[in-house]
Amino acid sequence: MRRLAVCAVTLSTLLPLAACSRRTASLKPQAQRVVVYVSEDQVFSQPVLEAFQKETGIEVRAVYDTEEAKSTGVMNRLMAEKDNPQADVYWANEPIRAEVLRQRGVAEAYDSPAAEGIPATFRDPEGYWTGFSARLRVLIVNDAVEKPPRSVLDLADRTWRGKVVLANPLFGTTTSHMAALFVRLGDAEARGFLDRLKANGVRLTTSNGESADQVAAGQAGVSLVDSDDAINRVRRGDPIRMIVPDQEPGGLGCFVVPNAVVLIHGGPHPDAARRLADYLLSPDTERRLAEADCAQIPLHAGVPVPKDVPSLGSIRVMKVSYAAVARKMVEIQQELKAWAGY
C-alpha cells in the first residue's frame, strides 16, 4: 500500500517535470511564438489574441494585468525587465503608458502598414506606439438628474455640490484626463478647476467602474468615467445616461483614450511581434472590439459599429499631444497626490 503511495507521488512529480522540461526546452527564441503583455482587460483582449494565434499559427504567450488598484502591473514588469526583455509586444489600454515606455527607452519604433488610416493624433510621430480602438472620457448621469451637465468643467459648479464622484486621479485614465486638462487649459486654470471641484465636495472612488456603479445606484448624481463603463450599464438597463462632454463649437472637445501597441526594444521574437502589431491595428480587430462588451470606438474610418457605440466622425475630439500629456502627468504627480489627500 505504501509502495503504491510512493509510486503515486513520484509519478505526480516526474510527469509534470517532464512536461515542464518539454515546454521550457522549446522556450528558445524562434519565429513561431510571440510574447505579449496586456493591460487591456483579459476578457476583451484574450479572444483577439486567440484569433490571431488561430489565423497565423503563431503561438501567443500572454501576461495579463489585474484591476488597476490590485497589482503592481505588467508595466512595471516591462520596466524591470528592460535590460533583459521577455516581452515582444505591449498592448496598452491607454497611450500614456506607451509614451512612458518610449521615454524610458523600452519601446521600439515600428511603422505598421496597418496603421494607415488611423489619424495622426493617435500615433507617435516616430512610430514608437500606435493607437487603435478607443474609449471616450464621458459624463455618466443618473436619470433622476433633470438638467445634466454639458461640460466636464461644469462639475465644479455649485449646482453639483456633493453630487459628484470621481475615480482616484492617481490611477488609470483619470490621471491622463487630468493631465490632459492641464495641457489644454494651462496649469493655472486646471489647478483652479481641481480646487473648485474639491471645494464642491467631490468624493473619490477606487475605479471608474465603482464611480459608474454609484451613479447607477443613485448614491451620486454624476461622474466622469470611460465610455465602456457607461455603455455597459446602459445595456444592462441601469437608470443612467451617457453624455459626450464639451461638444459645442469651440469647446474643449472630448478626451479620447485609444489602446496602443508598443513593440519592445530587444524583444526575443521581433518578426512575430510585427505581425501581431499589424493584426491588432487592423480594422478587423477594431470591429471586434466595438462589438464586444467593451464597446470601443474604431479609429479607422468606415468600420461598422453597433448602434449604441458613437463613431469617431461624429465627435469633437480634444486636441492634445499624448506626449505632452505624459510629460505633464509626471510633472503634476506630487500635486495630484496632495490633492487626493496622500
Binding site: L17, V35, A80, V100
Partner: protein, 532 residues
C-alpha cells in the same frame, strides 16, 4: 561530520538562502542605493506624509482585529476538534481548515456576491437587507471577516496538534484533583501556549501583508497602497522602500514571538513517547450545544460563501465557459503544485532533520528564516525575485517556471518544515542510532530509516506544500513566465470586467481542484493507517 551530510544539509540551507533571503536582501540594497549612491532617498516620501501614517494605522488595526477574531475562533475550535468527543469533529476540522487551502480573496468574492443587488440576500430578505450587508462588509468588517476565516485554521491546527502532544501523564495527574475543564484550562492550554503564540504571530503578519482582500472591500491599507505606488509611478525603488516597513515588522514580530516563547519555557515540555492517542475529553451535557454552535459557525463562515459561489455560478454553461477560459491555467497550477509540493517536502524534511540534529544553532536559524519568508508579503517577494533573477544569464530560471518554484520554496518552506519537524520529533531516536551502530551511513539512514519512519509527515508535508503552491497569488502574479499563469492568477486577471457568473464558476473550480485531491489523499492515508 560526514561529507554527505554536510553537502546535503548545506545545499538545503543554501537553497533557502538563495530562493528567499537573497531576493529580500537585494531589495533592501536596491532601495538604499536609489539614485546611484547609498542613502535613504527612496524612504524620504515614505514616512513623511500623514497619509502613510494613517495607512499604517489601518493596517495594524486590521491585523490586530483579525488576530483577535482568529484566536477567539481558533483556540476553541482547536480544543474541540483536537481533543473532545464532539460529533463529527474530523469533518468539522476539515471544513474549517478549507479556507486556509484557498486564496483568501475567494471568500471576499463570495461575500461581495452575497451583498450584491442580485444576490441571495437580496432575493430572500429583500434589497434593504442586501444593502445593509454590503454597506457593513465594505471596509474594515468585511476584511476582518474574510481574513480571520482564512487564517483561523492556522491557530486551530496548531492548537489541536499541541494539545495532542501534551504528555497524558501530566493531564492524568491533574485529573486526580480537578475536572477536565480545569485541567484543559490550567494544564493543557498553558502547555500549548507556544503554539497559540506562534499561530497568533503568523495570523497577524499574514493579515498585515495581504494585498488581495482589502482592495476588494475598498479598505485602504499600507501593503496595497505601497504596491500601488509602484504601479502608479513606475518607481521600483520607492515601491521597495514602501515594502520595507512590512519586512521590518515581520522580523520584529517573529523575533518577539521567539523571545516570549523561550521566556515561557519553549516547546511542549518533555514530549511523551507514550504510544496511542491522548485521552478524549468528554463534553458531557455540553456536547449538543457545543456541536450546534461549532457547526453553525462553520456553516456560516465556510459553507455559506461556498454555497453563494455555487448559486452565483449557475448552470453547467458557466462551468463550461470557465473551463474553456481557464482550463489551461488550472492544469498548469496543478502541475506546478505537484512539483512544488515535492520540492517543498524535500526541503522541509532536510531542514527539519537539521533542526533535530542541531536544535540551537543552524537548525534554529533555518527555522527562523523560513518563518520570516513565510510572513513576508508575496508581492514583496515577487519584486525581489524579479530584481534578482531578471538577467540574461539567468534566463533559464527567470524565463521558465523555475522562477515560480524558487518563489514557492521561499514562501512556504516554513509550512513543510514545521510539519516534518513535528513528525520527526515523534520518531524514537533509537531507530536512527540503531542504524548508526549497524554501520549505516548518514545519507542512507535518512532514506532507509528516517524518511520511512516519518512517511506520514512527509505525505502531509507534500500535500500542504502543493496546496500552498496552488493558492499563491501575490508572488505568482508578478513573476509567472508568459503562458504560465495559474488558476488563482487567472481569476484575478479575469476579474477586471469579467462576468460575475464566470468568476464565481472559476472560484468553484478552484475550490474543487484543491479540496478533491486533498480529500482523496487524506482518505487514502487514513485507509492505509487503518490497514497497517
Amino acid at each position: 561530520m560526514s561529507p554527505v551530510r554536510r553537502a546535503v544539509l548545506g545545499s538545503a540551507v543554501l537553497l533557502l538562502v538563495v530562493a528567499g533571503l537573497l531576493p529580500v536582501a537585494g531589495m533592501i540594497l536596491r532601495s538604499l542605493t536609489a539614485g546611484g549612491h547609498l542613502g535613504f532617498e527612496a524612504y524620504r516620501g515614505l514616512l513623511g506624509s500623514a497619509r502613510q501614517w494613517s495607512l499604517a494605522g489601518n493596517s495594524l488595526l486590521l491585523a490586530a482585529l483579525t488576530t483577535v477574531a482568529a484566536l477567539l475562533l481558533g483556540v476553541p475550535a482547536g480544543v474541540l476538534v483536537g481533543r473532545t468527543d464532539l460529533p463529527g469533529r474530523r469533518l468539522l476540522a476539515a471544513l474549517l481548515a478549507m479556507p486556509l487551502l484557498l486564496p483568501p480573496y475567494l471568500n471576499a468574492v463570495a461575500w461581495m456576491a452575497a451583498g450584491s443587488a442580485s444576490g441571495p440576500v437580496a432575493r430572500v430578505l429583500g434589497e434593504g437587507a442586501a444593502r445593509t450587508l454590503s454597506h457593513w462588509l465594505f471596509g474594515l468588517p468585511g476584511c476582518v471577516l474574510v481574513l480571520s476565516t482564512a487564517f483561523m485554521p492556522l491557530i486551530m491546527l496548531l492548537v489541536a496538534a499541541a494539545l495532542r502532544g501534551v504528555p497524558p501523564r501530566l493531564e492524568e495527574a491533574g485529573l486526580l484533583a480537578a475536572p477536565w475543564r480545569t485541567v484543559l484550562l490550567r494544564i493543557s492550554l498553558p502547555l500549548a501556549a507556544p503554539a497559540i503564540l506562534l499561530g497568533a504571530a503568523l495570523v497577524f503578519l499574514l493579515a498585515l501583508g495581504d494585498v488581495t482582500v482589502p482592495p476588494s472591500f475598498r479598505y485602504p491599507v499600507f501593503a496595497v497602497e505601497s504596491l500601488s505606488q509602484f504601479s502608479a509611478f513606475y518607481d521600483l525603488s520607492a515601491a521597495t522602500a514602501a515594502a520595507m516597513p512590512l519586512a521590518a515588522i515581520t522580523a520584529a514580530v517573529l523575533g518577539l514571538e521567539a523571545l516570549v516563547s523561550r521566556w515561557t519555557g519553549a516547546g511542549t515540555a518533555g514530549r511523551g513517547r507514550e504510544p496511542g492517542p491522548p485521552p478524549t475529553v468528554p463534553l458531557g451535557r455540553f456536547r449538543l450545544p457545543a456541536a450546534v454552535t461549532a457547526w453553525s459557525v462553520a456553516g456560516l463562515l465556510v459553507g455559506a460563501p461556498l454555497l453563494i459561489l455555487v448559486l452565483r455560478a449557475g448552470g453547467p454553461a458557466s462551468y463550461a465557459a470557465a473551463l474553456g477560459q481557464a482550463g489551461g491555467s488550472l492544469v498548469r497550477g496543478l502541475l506546478l503544485a505537484a512539483v512544488g509540493g515535492t520540492l517543498l517536502a524535500a526541503e522541509g524534511f532536510l531542514l527539519a532533520v537539521l533542526g533535530v540534529e542541531r536544535p540551537r544553532g543552524a537548525g534554529a536559524a533555518a527555522d527562523a528564516t523560513a518563518l520570516f519568508l513565510f510572513a513576508v508579503p508575496g508581492a514583496v517577494m515577487g519584486v525581489g525575485l524579479i530584481v534578482l533573477w531578471n538577467h540574461p544569464w539567468a534566463n533559464l530560471i527567470y524565463a521558465t517556471p523555475l522562477i515560480l518554484l524558487l518563489g514557492y520554496l521561499a514562501r512556504s518552506t516554513a509550512v513543510t518544515l514545521r510539519i516534518c519537524r513535528a513528525t520527526l520529533e515523534l520518531v524514537p531516536p533509537g531507530l536512527v542510532e540503531a542504524g548508526r551502530v549497524a554501520g549505516i551511513g548518514w545519507g542512507r539512514r535518512l532514506v532507509w530509516i528516517l524518511a520511512p519512519a516519518a512517511w506520514r509527515g512527509l505525505a502531509a508535508a507534500w500535500l500542504a506544500g502543493a496546496v500552498f503552491c496552488l493558492r499563491d497569488v501575490g508572488m505568482t502574479l508578478l513573476v509567472h513566465p508568459p503562458g504560465w499563469d495559474t488558476l488563482p492568477v487567472r481569476i484575478m486577471t479575469l476579474a477586471a470586467n469579467g462576468a460575475p457568473e464566470l468568476i464565481a464558476a472559476l472560484c468553484v473550480l478552484l475550490v474543487a481542484a484543491t479540496v478533491i485531491p486533498v480529500g482523496l489523499l487524506a482518505g487514502l492515508v487514513g485507509r492505509m493507517e487503518a490497514g497497517s
